[in-house]
Subunit: 136 residues, 2 copies
Amino acid sequence: MNIGQAADASGVSAKMIRYYEQIGLIRPPTRTDSNYRVYGSDEVHVLRFIRRSRTLGFSIEETSALLALWQDKTRASGEVRDIASEHISALETKIAELESMVGTLKHLVHCCQGDNRPDCPILDDLAGTNSKTKGH
Amino acid sequence: MNIGQAADASGVSAKMIRYYEQIGLIRPPTRTDSNYRVYGSDEVHVLRFIRRSRTLGFSIEETSALLALWQDKTRASGEVRDIASEHISALETKIAELESMVGTLKHLVHCCQGDNRPDCPILDDLAGTNSKTKGH
DNA sequence: GATAGACCTTCCCATCATGGTAAGGTCAAG
DNA sequence: CTTGACCTTACCATGATGGGAAGGTCTATC
């Protein structure tokens, strides 16, 4: 199987497959005489694993750890659970930050009349010159 | 006022002030004879505006638009509101995605016993070989 | 005055994960 | 044998920020 077919089969672009190889996330595959990379179903399986991990928001580094645990038959699943739990915490922190931003913006938009008058509570807030929109 | 003082006064690092100048977000300030950048309270005000906008998660490009509207006395505040509203939508989409990730991960962690047995529902899900943890 | 240390300048490199492009080699179908 | 689709490597770009080097400037102290 060529890299393009492996890409189609795994959902990881050929570009990224080469990149993952380059950074050592996956092992260099065998090559044909004409230097083409050759993949089998095992490699595609690994690529799918990586893709799913990335989709769930794990970094490459976290993915690498999960991959090692996946391939280690003697692993303790507690380690995996710890990685996932830490990731959940990080995601929840991020969500809280975003929600805080949304809350502020919604308040500002609510205060904004959207007419042609030159005063705008959103811009006033950004400029730090507001007093009316505070603490309500 | 030197760049370091402007940085302290605005909360934007000297590094970023130069960067903002380089990409045209802010205007090049006057210089001393010895080529030092000189800032006044107006520039610091602009930098604070930028900082607040970035803190609220607006991109540099969005910040640039907001800055232009802020400095345009004839602006319509509806434009500002539109930018903010679109930004809210984008943030909410992002939040929903993150929440979906968290939901999946929490489910997987819940199913994971964290013992020393080699089967782990989290890894099974990542590998796409699961059937038990689906649709529940 | 001279010297030390804190500041400034520009320039280059790194991040993280991904995409693009260019120049050239290979393969399969017609 | 040509054409077109594929592969190879290598380099550049993103967005926003930090780090550092090499060299110039300012200020306070001796």
